[in-house]
Amino acid sequence: MNKIGLIIRREYLTRIRNKTFLISTFLLPIMIVLFIAGTVYLAIKGRTNHRIAVSDQNGYFKDYLKSDSSIFFDFSPAIDTVNYAEKNCSAVLIIPVLNEGEKTIYRLKYKKQLGLANIDDLEKRVSSAITDHLIFTKTNISRGRLDSIRSASDIAELKTFSDEGKKSEASSQGLSYGVGWACGFLIYLLTFIYGAMVMRGVMEEKTSRVAEVIVSSVRPFPLMLGKIIGIGAVGLTQFLLWIGLIVILAIVAQAFIPHELMMEVNNMQSANAMGNAQMAQGSEAAKQIFDVKQSIHHTNWALIIGCFIFYFIGGFLFYASLFAAIGSVVNEDPQEAQSLLLPITMPIIFSWIIMTIAIQDPGGSLAVWASMIPFSSPIVMMARIPYGVPTTVPYWQLLLSIGLLAGGFLFTTWMAGRIYRTGILLYGKKPTWKNMLKWAFKA
C-alpha cells in the first residue's frame, strides 16, 4: 500500500471508529425530523382563531360573509369600534355603503396584527360576499341553487407535467421542491461539518507537532490530500448510511399502513398502468398514498443520488482544501482561525441564501449562474436537479457545471497545497493574506 493510501486509511478508520460518528449519524436525522415535526406542530397549533366584529352599513354582509373555524364574524350590534377589544374580538371590520361603479374603501381596525395570511383570507371572503350578493340580486337564482353550483363546480384539478419531447412525465412540484431543498441543505451542512473537520485535523497535526515527523516521511501534498480524501470518505459513508436509514424507515412505515388500504393502492396502480385515466375509485387515504407513491416513482432517484454524490465530493474537495490551508497557517489560538475562515464561510452561506431563492425559480438566471460558478454550484445545482434533467436543467448546463467544479477543485487543491506545505511547519506569527498568496503563486 502506498503512503497516501496509508494516510487515507488512518484518517478514515480513526473517525469511523469514533463514537461521535455513530452518534451523529443516527442522531442528526432524528433531530432533523423532530425539528421539522416541531415546527409543523407549532405552526398548526399557533394558528389562532379570530373573532372579527363587523360594522356593516349595507345590511347584507350578514347573509353572505362566511364564518368558519379560523375566522368568526360577529354582527352583534352591541359591538362597536370602541369596545371590540373588551368584547373579545381581535379586530373590527368597518364597511361603509358600497356603491356600484366606484371604489369605496372599507377598513379593518385592530390592536394586534392578524398576520398576512389572515388579511388575504379576509379580503377574499369580503369580495366573494359582494359577488354572491350581486349575483343573487341581479339574477333570479335562489341561494340554494347558487351554493350547489359552487360545490358542483369543484370538478377540475391541476396536475403539472414536465415536457420531455416524446413523453410527458407527471411531475410533482411539491416533491421537487422538498427534495431540492433537502439536497441543498445536506450539501451545505456536510460541507461545513466535514470542511471544519479537515481544518481541525490539520491544526491537530500542526499543534501536536506530528506534522514534522510525518513530513520527513511523506511530502506535504500527499499528506493534505490523504487527509481530505479520508475525511471525504467518512462523509460519503455517513450519507450512504442515511440513505439506508431512510429506505429502512420507509419500509417500516409501509408496514403500518393497513392491508386493505395497500390493496386499494395496488389496484389503482395497476389501473393506472393499463392506461385507465379514471381512477376515482378508492378512498381518500388510498388516493393520497397513491399520489405520493406515484411522484416518488416518477422522480429520477438514480440521477439525483448520482449527482448528489458528485456535487458532494466536488464541493467538499473545493472547500476542504481551502479549510486545510487555513488550518495549516493558524497556531494554537482558535481565534485566529475564526478571522481567517470568514472568506471561506461567506461564499458557503451566500450559496445557501441563493439556493433558497433559486429553488422558487429553478430556471431563472440567478439560479442558472449560481449553479455554474464552483463557489455556489454544489448547493444551488443540487436544489435545481430534482426539478428535472434535461427539462429544468439542460444537459449542457449540467455538464458545464460539473466541468467547472472539477476545474475549480483542482485549482483550489493546487493552491491550498502550496500554502499548506509552507504553513504546516511555520510557527509563530500568523501570516497575512498577502503572505499566503505569495506562497501560493510564487516559486
Partner: protein, 308 residues
C-alpha cells in the same frame, strides 16, 4: 555515508544556512552543535527532505539525495516531539513504521521487538494522553528507529528524560551505531556530546565554525594548561617557566610559557625536592570551547536582509 556540500538556504529575513559542507561516516555518532538559531533545524530539515536547499548538494551513499525514496533510510526525531494524542500507541507505531515503507507484517515484528526491548508491551492500547512526558519520549525514539534507518537524526533526544531512561536511550544509540547506522546528534548539552560523539561540527549564524573529532578539537583549543599535585610545593615560583592559574589544597593549575615543555616543569619540581603525585594536561571542555567561540557574537541572532 552522508555528504553535504556547500549547502545554502536563505529565508526572506535570514541566511539560515550559509554555505555549509561536512560529511558523516558510516557507523559514527556525529554531533551537530550550535547556539539557538544557528541554523541546525534548517540544516536538518534539508537533510530529511522537508526543505529543498537553495544551493548545494546532499549525497547519501554516493547518490544524490531523493526525499521520496530515501526517507525510508532516514529516521528523524525532531526537537518538538509530535505524536497523535488520540491514537492508540500500538497502532500509532505501526502507522509510522508503514509510512517509512515497512510491510504490514514486518512492521508488527519490529514494533513488538522494540516494545519488548523498552518494556512498553503494556502500552499497546493506551493513548498518548495517558503517557508521561518521558514515556512519550521513549515512544518517539522507538518510532524514529523502527525501520532500521541508515541515518538517524536526533534533535535533543535526552531532554526531559530521567537518568535511567536517558541511559537506556544512550545505550541504544551506541548499539545502533555499532550495527552500522550513522547518527547525527543535535544538542546544546556539551557534556553529552563529549561522552557520545566521535565527530562534531559547530554552527553559528548559519556558518560552520568548527569541524573535527572531539579529541582533535580539544587539542586545537588547548591552552597549555596542566594540573600538578606535589608536596611540598616549591618555595618560590619561577615566572619564566610557567604562570599559576589556580591553587588548590593539593596542587595547582599552571600554564606553561611559550618555549618550554612539560618536561622542563617536571625537572624544575624534581630539582626543588618536591614529590609529584600527579601531572596531567587539562584540556578544555567542549563547553568552554563552545562558549569561547560563540561568545562575543551577539547572543540572539539579528535579522538581516539576505540580499547583499
Amino acid at each position: 555515508m552522508l555528504e553535504v556540500t556547500r549547502l545554502k538556504k536563505y529565508f526572506t529575513t535570514q541566511k539560515a544556512v550559509d554555505d555549509i559542507s561536512f560529511s558523516v561516516e558510516k557507523g559514527t555518532i556525529f554531533g551537530l552543535l550550535g547556539p539557538n538559531g544557528a541554523g541546525k533545524t534548517t540544516l536538518i530539515r534539508m537533510i530529511t527532505g522537508i526543505f529543498y536547499p537553495d544551493e548545494g548538494s546532499i549525497r547519501l551513499n554516493g547518490k544524490k539525495f531523493n526525499p521520496d525514496e530515501d526517507s525510508s533510510h532516514i529516521g528523524y526525531m525532531p526537537e518538538e516531539r509530535g505524536l497523535y494524542k488520540k491514537m492508540k500507541i500500538g497502532e500509532q507505531a505501526l502507522y509510522f513504521a508503514r509510512l517509512k515503507g515497512l510491510s504490514a507484517s514486518e512492521a508488527v515484528i519490529q514494533v513488538k521487538d522494540w516494545f519488548v526491548r523498552f518494556e512498553m508491551q503494556s502500552w499497546w492500547n493506551k493513548k498518548i494522553e495517558d503517557l508521561s512526558k518521558g514515556m512519550a519520549q521513549k515512544l518517539q525514539f522507538v518510532i524514529t528507529v523502527l525501520h532500521r534507518p541508515e541515518l538517524i537524526i536526533l534533535d535533543e533526544p535526552f531532554s526531559g528524560l530521567d537518568p535511567v531512561n536517558a541511559n537506556l536511550i544512550k545505550d541504544e544509540i551506541f548499539r545502533l551505531a555499532a550495527q552500522g547506522s550513522s547518527i547525527i546528534f543535535s544538542t546544546h548539552r556539551m557534556e553529552q556530546v563529549e561522552e557520545i560523539c566521535n565527530h562534531i561540527i559547530l554552527l553559528n549564524k548559519g556558518k560552520k565554525i568548527l569541524d573535527g573529532t572531539v579529541a582533535n578539537v580539544k587539542q586545537e583549543f588547548k591552552e597549555n594548561l596542566f594540573r600538578i599535585s606535589a608536596t611540598p610545593f616549591p618555595k618560590q615560583a619561577t615566572p619564566e617557566l610557567f604562570d599559576v592559574i589556580a591553587k588548590y589544597d593539593d596542587g595547582m593549575t599552571i600554564r606553561i610559557k611559550e618555549g618550554y615543555k612539560p618536561n622542563d616543569v617536571l625537572r624544575y619540581f624534581i630539582d626543588q625536592q618536591s614529590n609529584i603525585s600527579s601531572f596531567t594536561e587539562s584540556l578544555p571542555s567542549l563547553n568552554e570551547i563552545f562558549i569561547k567561540l560563540v561568545e562575543g557574537t551577539s547572543l540572539s541572532r539579528q535579522f538581516q536582509p539576505t540580499q547583499s
